[in-house]
């Protein structure tokens, strides 16, 4: 069945695929994960705030972005970020924002919603007595959160946060629509140039499969090791 296939296209192009495409995808994934977890944790703290307007703003933001398909968000941000940037700094014209920055901002803001919900569950899983113990020792809110609640919430939620990151890793392929040179974009460019679409997309799928399986396996091992003894 493979006699008409020419897998040589992969041999010819794997360096560009891995060192440019996959490296780009990994870079966006890691940066968006870091930014997303930080922003998501802040959103989670806002959602759990006893000051209601703060909680409403965070909930509105999270629910809005979670109900829009990621492709649309990427598109919108790509066109809107220059205008929003101009509005923030008060520039008369839309400021030029590179596709990379635009995509990164998009993923951070989008994934933050999912990380937010994970961290919210994580924070809520810590008994309220822990917060009381922190306060009773004279800690303020930020000290109590930073040293008592969040470290425990992070530890409990690390497997789930990483699972969400695996989803993010796959989602990054959507930057294809704004022609950023990620793994899928580069693969499809080469595939179209050489007329070898099926071979190339098979290869891409196998690479994604291998990486995601590997990461899932890693997450599963962490899960058993990370539980805090109570």
């Amino acid at each position: 069945m493979f006699e008409n296939f020419d897998f040589d296209v992969i041999a010819r192009s794997w360096q560009a695929l891995i060192f440019q495409g996959l490296a780009f995808t990994a870079q966006v994934t890691l940066l968006a994960m870091a930014g997303g977890i930080v922003l998501g944790t802040l959103l989670a703290m806002m959602r759990l705030s006893s000051f209601k307007p703060l909680a409403w703003v965070a909930a509105g933001y999270v629910n809005l972005l979670r109900s829009i398909p990621l492709v649309l968000v990427i598109f919108w941000f790509y066109f809107l970020v220059p205008y929003i940037g101009a509005w923030i700094i008060g520039a008369p014209r839309p400021i030029p924002v590179g596709a990379f920055t635009s995509a990164l901002v998009t993923f951070i803001m989008f994934e933050a919603c999912y990380y937010c919900e994970i961290m919210r569950a994580g924070i809520q899983s810590i008994p309220s007595g822990q917060a009381n113990a922190g306060y009773a020792l004279g800690m303020n809110y930020w000290q109590m959160m930073g040293r008592v609640i969040l470290p425990q919430a992070f530890r409990n939620m690390t497997p789930v946060l990483l699972t969400q990151t695996i989803v993010l890793f796959q989602d990054v392929s959507l930057v294809y629509i704004i022609s950023l040179p990620d793994f899928v974009t580069i693969a499809s460019k080469i595939a179209q140039r050489d007329g070898r679409l099926i071979e190339m997309y098979l290869f891409v799928a196998v690479v994604y499969l291998a990486i995601c399986l590997l990461l899932s396996h890693f997450v599963k091992r962490l899960q058993t090791r990370f539980a805090i003894a109570r």
Binding site: Y135, A136, L137, M139, N140, R147, P151, R155, I228, A229
Partner: protein
């Protein structure tokens, strides 16, 4: 001057009143035991003292400083009031030593060595110095509660609050915790203790406060309380917990 002054404090959860016009005081060096049936509001009352529970009416002052005022620096005030909880509430992600040192360095701005030195001294005092590098989950309940007491003492508190410190313990571990508390009381620590341990109350309390349904029903010197409780409710309560 009283160390803890609770003056006509009322608190509601929605329409339900959990504290009804409660007033009492704890003088410097005094040990006051608060008892009463479950749901009587005693845990809520003790938590209002360091503002872990807000209240809507009345006034509470610790060492002359009003707890409910907006201008009060709550973290600073709380740092000087030790509190021991029913469920110990040690930080499970930190070693015993770091449990003791954390607030000392972060809140009192002590140096790391200073905090460790103070921590070791107190661990030694509660007989747990050998456990300093373990994690809370590796200790028994009684040991955890002794560490929790040491953690509170490490802040050099001017008063200690105990919220049912032995209620979550297996019976054979209650005494090791009570022994530490008795010793503390004998040293003249100002203590407010919510407990059902009437043996402890008899041994070291100066006064007993009896609560029922959010009210302070009786506030009497220890001997008066055990000898001749005036209210029916206190008599019923005492007969229930003493005769078994």
């Amino acid at each position: 001057m009283p160390m803890i002054e609770i003056d006509k404090v009322s608190k509601w959860y929605g329409a339900f009143q959990v504290l009804k016009n409660c007033s009492t005081t704890v003088d410097k060096g005094e040990v006051v035991v608060v008892c009463g049936p479950s749901g009587s509001g005693k845990s809520t009352l003790i938590k209002t003292v360091n503002a872990l529970e807000p209240f809507q009416q009345g006034r509470i002052a610790v060492n002359g400083q009003s707890v409910g005022d907006r201008g009060t620096n709550l973290p600073q005030l709380r740092a000087r009031i030790g509190m021991v909880f029913q469920n110990f509430e040690l930080f499970p992600h930190l070693s015993i030593m770091r449990n003791l040192a954390l607030a000392q360095t972060m809140v009192l701005k002590r140096s790391g060595e200073e905090a460790i030195e103070r921590g070791l001294k107190l661990l030694d005092r509660v007989g747990l110095i050998a456990q300093k590098d373990k994690f809370p989950g590796q200790l028994s309940g009684g040991q955890q509660q002794r560490v929790a007491i040491a953690r509170a003492l490490a802040m050099d508190p001017i008063a200690m609050l105990f919220d049912e410190p032995t209620s979550a313990l297996d019976p054979e571990m209650i005494n090791e915790v009570l022994d530490v508390m008795v010793e503390l009381a004998k040293e003249g620590m100002t203590m407010m203790v919510v407990t059902h341990e009437m043996g402890f109350a008899r041994k070291v309390a100066h006064r007993v406060v009896f609560m029922d349904q959010g009210e302070i029903v009786e506030d009497a010197a220890k001997n008066d309380f055990f000898g001749s409780p005036r209210s029916d409710r206190a008599q019923t309560f005492l007969s229930k917990i003493l005769n078994h």
